[in-house]
Amino acid sequence: MSRSVRALRLKLSRHAGFQTYAGSRQYRSTFAPITVLEALEAISERNPELNAFASHITPAEANASESSEGPLMDWPIAVKANIATARSSVTSCASRALYAYTSPFQATVVDSLERAGAAVVGKTNMDEFGMGSKNKFSIYGSALNPHTPALVAKQDGMTELDRHTPGGSSGGSAAAVAAGMCRAALGSDTGGSVRLPAAWCGVVGFKPTFGRISRHGLVAYGSSLDTVGIMARDVADVQSVFDIVAVPDPLDMTCMTSSLRARIKALASSRPWITQAHGPNRSESAPLAEIRVGIPEEYWVNELSEPALESWRAGASRLAALGCEVVSVSLPHTPSALPAYYALAWAEASSNLARYDGIRYGRRSDIRPDTRNLQNASQKYANTRGEGFGAEVQRRILLGTYVMSSAASEHYFTPSQKIRRLIQEEFDNVFALPNALSATQPLALSASRPLGVDVLLFPTATGAAPRLSDQEDSRVANYVNDVMTVPASLAGIPAISIPAGHADGMPLGLQLAAQYGDDDLLLCVARHL
């Protein structure tokens, strides 16, 4: 069946009022759907300027490929360059070390998407191995933010560095969604790498609970924090993709089993104070009645810009108008999250990236040391890794190696693990729903409403997207971008960034976070925001 016939049938079925495909909810997007061919057209038009894709398919390839029928039929989807795709494209992680690497297997997420009918239109630009928040550290060069006003962009003497960053590390995916070059995109979120670029590009970026989506095929950066994330123009599209990819996977032992998923579902639907979160009959005037929203004080940091604060206030008012009860909560360990996050992420990075030695695959240094001497043989590693990794990756590997060394481990690694535990406990304390992981026996939830909140609301970033040239000399400032996003990563809880206002024409994002496993409620609230 050709793609155009299928597209036609899809349109007909919409007209005929077919709301759902078997086994999946269908959410109504507020945007007109983008077909594969439309996306490819947009790519050929806009990608040369925006540099969002590292590689993409041609219309001829799209027509030739046989995709299956399913709920995502004719959905053009972009996949970050650190997620393994078996066909057509390199899985380079935007690194020289894996410049021409093609994977012999495909990530479970990509398999699920293709089975559901979606077409992978290309691999997106990113910060090398996911390390960065501006999409600047890439062998492909920076991706650019589609929201830079066209007039400004064409000014005389404007260099690329004067353009705005799409954010990172999933900058290419966010830019691709924002510029209509795909209907949805996969990214990866270790400490905010999906949510931050989504906010800066004005799209929705969802980091589900750790373990909701299989990591098999996602090239590891910080394995205990890495989450596959979803970006789209609205929550409905995000949810359509999420329903397809959030399934158990025996190939990833840290992916939630079906019994854990069932336990979470039972726990979430048994809370007596929310009677109709997913029901069709929510009141039109107050669709989020019964939901209590927490505003965490500690996110009101010095670095927070006035427009970001304003959009936070506006978001809180909007939720209140939708029927939510908005309360102030305290998460006192938030300031410790950033240093703890970096110690853990770098330590895991130095471990996960140890395999790129050029021996079995990937780029190998041409310098041939004399291997008769063992000292020289290990020089081969040093040459290969020194040439293969960019400056930021090398910096994080070195710091991570130090953090884990026997001399420093007890001062950095161990305390960071403790802080992580404290932050998890802190979130458990503010949420009304108990954590399914710590709840060992079936909970007898009291009929009366417990003290905690259902979701938290706070900004995704301290401000709008900076220009690529900004803060050039301050690495620490780059890391501070992550201050709003890393606590949810450390706790493994779901968080979603939603477009919320502008500052000087550049988009801002607001973040909602919920208890471990409470992804459905989070998406439900996000849909209304």
Partner: protein, 499 residues
Amino acid sequence: MRLLWSVRESARHCAGYKFTTNLLLHKRYYKPWGATIGLELHVQLAAAHKLFSAASAKWDDPPNTNVDFVDAGLPGSMPRLNPECVSLAARAILCLNGQVQPRSSFDRKHYFYSDQPLGYQITQQRHPIGRGGFIELGQADGLDYTKRVRIHQLQLEQDTAKSIHGVYPGYILTDLNRAGVALVEIVSEPDMETAPEAVHFVRKMQSLLRHTGVSSCNMEDGSLRCDVNVSVYRGSEDRLSGTRCELKNLNSLKTIRGAIEAEVSRQVELLSNGQRVKQETRGYDAHSGKTVLARSKEAAPDYRYMPEPDLPALHISEDWIKQIRSSLPELPEATLSRMTRQYGLLPEDVATMLGEPGCISFFEHAARGRDPKRVAAWITSEIFGQLSYRAQRLSDSTLTVQQFAGLLDALASNSITSTQAKTLLIEFMDGDKRAAEELIQAHGWKVMSDTRQLQTLVTQLLNEHPREAAEYKAGHKRRLNFFVAKIMAATKGQARPQD
């Protein structure tokens, strides 16, 4: 003062006279020096698949044929724990009288080497699957006293790839077949005091782990590897006070013994000369009979242990442990006491049979309704002789217990001679699939029970050899052997010498 003198004196003995070394190492001769010895054994599990992948664990297949994505460390690949390996590790700790831990977890141990595709080894540093337990050494094991060696812990971990040096000059070749094969590392407490104790400990470990099907435990092919920690102390000091050295790459029982003896001598000599023992890793040079420096403490790599984030903690239920325990075969210790009691066998014979996998059940089948001592004697001398001649395991031999039983019956009813029985055994082990009776018939063997025929033959022989007959009569009793041999030759072994 006096103590000092005796210390010096004994050290001089040790250093000066090579032959005293062995004596010195025997427990009784240790004073005033003592040695403290602990072992680390790496045992390859007899699992069909690797610890974290679905690839076959046959590491001796053609190079790089049994490699899954995770074994080659491909980007995006993830480890998946193989339950078979967990149950073999549980069997191992249970047969060592230890406890399976209800919760264990995995760690990464980092170092760069071409045999380490991930850049780290997945092991169990902090929370191993097994703790506690012991091995009891005694007479049946070849010690003339009893000794209990405690087990500290047992952990699951990955094997490395194989590095092949020297095939292509300037290149190190890598075979990933072994990368990720399941090992357990068994760490003993430093309870041993002599080299023979260490050797007997290893031997007993081999027999236990083979018996329970955990591992083939061969040092020759590397399915058992052994590192030894040795320190010495003066008689009056605490036995754990010495600085220990680790001896690595000891690949036979003989090497273990030689290396420990050499290392104890070296440390005693150093201390006697007022020098210090430095903590280091050493190897053993069998030619010079000395240990040699491999790596000083300063050069030891920092392994940067880290919890393995790709694997959740391993939870093992009480029910599952019970199930594993009930599936364990009778342990050698129990078999030994039962067999000596039930069949009246010598402990040495039972111990010998215990060393051969499958041999006990082979014996018990054959001994049903037969003289157990005779069965055991046949197994331990004739069958084991043939097995070692053929460098074969009983389980790989074509000999069936039915054939062996038929042979024993024919022998017991005097229908064949023991010479014929031995021929029969060789034919069975060469692959003849016929039953004993059938093969006897095919040979046309039957014992010459017609004594008159034998009488005629003897008379004939006496007449043919009058000189030898006269000598026998004159008291040369050994001349009888001459005639027996002649008769056996004439009858092609069908006569029974007793007649």
